[in-house]
Each structure stands twice: as C-alpha cells, then as structure tokens.
C-alpha cells in the first residue's frame, strides 16, 4: 500500500478479518473511506457490526488483513477517533450528570489530573448546545430519556473533536426528536469533513444517513451507494431470509 494514499484515506480496511480468541466473526471486509464520507454498516444482530467497530477502535484484534485510520494503526489513532457506544451498555444509575459525561470526551486532552480549563468547558457547552441539550448539563444522566442519553453520548464524542466518528446502533430505542437531532448533527459533521461510520439495522435510516452502505453478515456482502446495495436480492442473500420491496422503493425484511 502506498503510504501517501493511506494517509489520505480516513479509514482503510483491506481484507480484514476480526474476532475474539482467534475465531473470526467477520471476514473479508474491504473499505476505503475519504474524509467526510458517511458509511452505514447494515446487517442482522450478530453480523459482526459491533465487532468491526471495536476493531477499528483497536479494542478487538484484526486477525487478518490490515486496517489503518488516517494512515495509522487503530491503536495509534485513538486521539483521532470518536466513539458513541450503545446507551443500554451503560449503567443508568451511575451518579453522573450529562455535562460530566460530555466532559469525558475531553479527558484525553486534559490528562490525568490537571483541572479542566475554559476551553474544555466551552467545548462541552457547545456540544450540548448542538444536540439541543443546553438546559440539561446539570441533569443526572440516569433520568434522561433513551434518546437524550444517546444525544449526550454523541455530544461527548463531538467534544473530543474526532476526525473519524464510529457510532454503534445510535438509533436504537431513540425517540423521533432525538433521531432528527442526531441525523442533522451527523450531516453537519460529514459536511465539515468528519468521516462517519454507524451500524444500524434500520434500513430507512441507513438510506437517510449514508452515502455508502456496507452489508455485513459474517462477511462483506455488498458495498456501495444505498440504492445499489439495499436491494431485495442482496439483503435476502445476506440475511438468509425474505426481503420484500416497499412501495417507495425502499426495502424491508421480514422474518422467514
């Protein structure tokens, strides 16, 4: 691989296999994203979407192939990568406010014990503002709705000013208001040059969000624009079930 080209690419995966304890759960993934590109990872539960995201974060080993983020290995690119985990992976009882959660996005910059500075507090407030949560900085994270929590986590990722942002099922259990707020912020980020990768099993949202779709289930089944990849035929093969065509040309799946 040409080094200069690798540096231009925001995310480049070449025939990547990822998995746990040496056993791959996902094989042969090849991606090449430029800054500002918006990729949706589509696939059923257990398809390997979260595992792929964790391997791009450097948390799950790449078993075969190579993966680079802005020309660096994933574990050397952590300061450039933002991550929005699934909200239900977090302890809602944890005694912490929305503002404190967003401040966590600044922790790598602040360091271990230096006090927070004005620039950090401004970044936190701006991130909360962008997601319509300006009034919730001092609200306990646990009393927020699922959609508000998801917005807080996106605000946290934004506060870290990443160049590649990975989101794991950001629309799960999210109300319409939050969904729209998240989508519009993601579009702004993409327009400003942040590369976006999100996993979802909501095909309608994938259509709305992405300029590129990667269909996964154990391996990569399709990669390309939504119109070309979210077809009944591809999805039926990837999901191993039935796909039906909706009237507006979008596809939705039903269980076999």
């Amino acid at each position: 691989m040409n080094d200069a080209a690798a540096a231009d690419a925001a995310l480049r995966c070449t025939e990547v296999s990822v998995g746990y304890h040496g056993t791959p759960v996902l094989t042969n993934v090849t991606l090449d994203l430029v800054p500002g590109q918006r990729l949706a990872l589509i696939g059923p539960n257990g398809a390997g979407k979260s595992t792929l995201i964790k391997s791009i974060l450097g948390l799950v080993p790449v078993l075969a192939g190579t993966c680079t983020v802005l020309g660096r290995t994933p574990s050397h690119a952590r300061t450039l990568i933002g991550y929005v985990p699934q909200t239900d992976s977090l302890d809602a009882d944890f005694p912490v406010t929305a503002g404190q959660v967003v401040m966590m996005g600044r922790y790598r910059r602040i360091g271990w014990w230096r006090p927070t500075r004005g620039v950090d507090r401004r970044a936190v407030q701006e991130a909360l503002d962008r997601l319509g949560l300006a009034d919730h900085a001092r609200t306990h994270f646990g009393v927020l709705s699922g959609g508000q929590r998801q917005r807080v986590l996106l605000a946290r990722a934004i506060a870290a000013e990443p160049r590649l942002l990975l989101l794991d099922e950001p629309f799960n259990g999210v109300d319409l208001v939050s969904q729209d707020a998240i989508l519009s912020v993601l579009r702004e980020l993409g327009a400003a040059g942040t590369t976006l990768v999100l996993s979802t099993h909501d095909l309608t949202l994938a259509h709305e969000f992405a300029d590129t779709v990667c269909v996964l289930n154990g391996r990569q089944w399709a990669l390309g624009p939504p119109g070309a990849t979210l077809t009944a035929d591809t999805l039926r093969r990837a999901y191993g079930g039935h796909a039906i065509e909706l009237r507006d040309g979008r596809t939705v799946l039903v269980e076999p």
């Binding site: 991550y83 977090l90 005694p95 014990w113 009393v143 946290r156 909501d202």
Partner: protein
C-alpha cells in the same frame, strides 16, 4: 460530650478513625460505583493471613508489612482474574477468599493466645492505637488520596463506560489494578484499628448511605466521610458511656459500625423518595422504530 476524648487513648482512637474516614469516604464511592463490595470483602479476607504471618514474624509492627504484601498480591490476582473474566463468576472470588482466610486461621490457631489474637485481627484494637500507628495511617492516607486524585478522572470514566474509556485510550487493566491497590491499601491502613471484618463496613456503607442524599460523586465522598466521622464520635462515646457509667462492655469498633449502619437505615426512606421523584421526571419510554429489524 467531649470530655471522654481528653483521655489520651480515646483521643487517639478518634484521630485514627477520622484519618480512616478521610480515605474511606472517597474510596467507598468507587467501591459502590464499580460494585466492588464483594471484591473488597475478598481483599479483607486475603489480607488476614498476611496480618497473621506479619504478626508471627515481627510482632505488632510486622502486621502492616504482612498486610501490605498480602493486599498488593490480592490486588494483582483479582485484576488478573477480572481480565480473564473469572471475576464475574463469584465462585472464583469466594474460593480465593475462603482459602486465604482458612490459611490465616490455621496459622493463628498454632498460638497459645489463639482466641484473643484472632479477635484482635478480626475486630481490631481501636482503643490501643499508638501514636506511631496514627503516623503510619496518616502516611497511608496521603498515599491513598494521592493515588485517587491522580486516577479519579480516569476511574470515573472507566466505571461509567469501560468501552468508551478504552476507546479513548485509557488502559482498563491498569485502572482496575489501581483501584484494587487503593482498596488493598485502605484495608491495610484500617486493619489494626478496626480489624479485617469491620473495615468492609467502612468501604461499603458510607457511599451506599450517601447515595440516598446526593447523586454527585464528589458530594457522595464528602457525605461518606462525614458519616464515618459522626459514627466514630458517636460509637466511641457510646462505648465509653456504656463501660464507664454502666459497666457494660461495648466493643468500640462494633459500636462505630453499628452507628454507620443505623445512619444507612435512617437514610433509606430518603433514597426511596428520591428515586420515586426521579422516575416521575423520566421521559416516557422511547419509541422503537417500526423499520427496525430483529435478527
């Protein structure tokens, strides 16, 4: 109400407990948030054979060294078990805990003063605290608070969102080791004064009680420390009054712990009220997308 504490051994007992309160308040917040209650219990039990060996080798002064070695070793082992995923299995922790405790009992039972030694290791000797012990506790307290100050931010992040903290570049295993070592150091600092059994109460009850009053971590730490100091004062006073005025033997450390638990029980209704109020504020349950696929 202050007079008993002008007696030197009572004053020293209170000073020792105040030092322990300063560290146990903040540390208990992390034990509570990380749900490490059982792990802390394990540390107190595994420190026990270290205490006995230290005592057999070096007398009273050897206890701290023995406890320190056993405590740090336990912190490392528990971190490794946690890495291997074995800690989620309570049985593994319980096996380590009971095995080490048994070794301690076997060792101490070889002595002729078996019963009194065992009692003082398990329940401590708060009323015979020496000035030197107070200095040692103070040194450990400074060390513990220093480690907490450096690690607090990363520890909070790791506790709330392990995957997020790891993604941000924090080393989870390192942070787990740090917290386990902090817990072990607290046990070491407290073991001679309150014993291996009662120190668990100082590590668990303060934050659990403070959680009823506040949802902020820093306030929980302060409230926790305050509660221990109140319980220390009240417990020592009660045991003094009981034995001096009424001739009833009331073990001081037990009185302190009982008061702490009493504070927790008194605060319980407040906590219930609080959580009911919070649930009233929670937005209606989020919509699930009709397009969502269940694979």
């Amino acid at each position: 109400m202050i007079e008993p504490f002008t007696v030197p051994f009572m004053g020293r007992a209170l000073a020792e407990l105040v030092l322990l309160a300063l560290v146990c308040g903040p540390v208990s917040v992390f034990v509570f948030a990380r749900r490490l209650a059982f792990v802390s219990d394990a540390v107190t039990h595994t420190v026990f054979p270290g205490v006995v060996i230290g005592f057999l080798a070096g007398g009273i002064e050897g206890i701290v060294v023995g406890a320190l070695v056993a405590g740090i070793a336990t912190a490392v082992v528990l971190t490794l078990l946690g890495r291997a995923g074995a800690l989620s299995d309570d049985a593994a922790t319980a096996v380590v805990l009971t095995a080490m405790f048994s070794i301690g009992v076997v060792l101490v039972s070889r002595r002729s003063s078996y019963t009194s030694d065992l009692t003082s290791f398990l329940f401590g000797r708060i009323l015979t605290v020496t000035p030197r012990q107070i200095v040692e506790t103070a040194v450990l307290a400074v060390l513990i608070l220093g480690l907490l100050l450096v690690g607090a931010r990363a520890l909070v992040f790791r506790t709330f969102d392990p995957a997020g903290a790891a993604a941000a570049g924090f080393r989870i295993a390192g942070l787990d080791l740090l917290l386990n070592i902090i817990v072990a150091l607290v046990v070491v600092a407290a073991v001679r004064a309150v014993g291996t059994i009662l120190v668990v109460a100082l590590l668990i009850v303060p934050a659990a009680a403070a959680r009823m009053l506040t949802t902020r971590l820093s306030q929980m730490a302060l409230v926790g420390t305050g509660l221990i100091i109140l319980a220390a004062y009240g417990g020592l006073l009660a045991s003094w009054t009981a034995s001096v005025d009424y001739g009833i033997a009331l073990t001081s450390a037990s009185a302190v712990v009982l008061l702490l638990v009493l504070a927790y029980l008194l605060l319980l209704p407040l906590g219930a009220l609080r959580s009911r109020r919070n649930h009233g504020r929670t937005a209606p349950h989020a919509r699930r997308s009709p397009h969502e696929l269940v694979g």
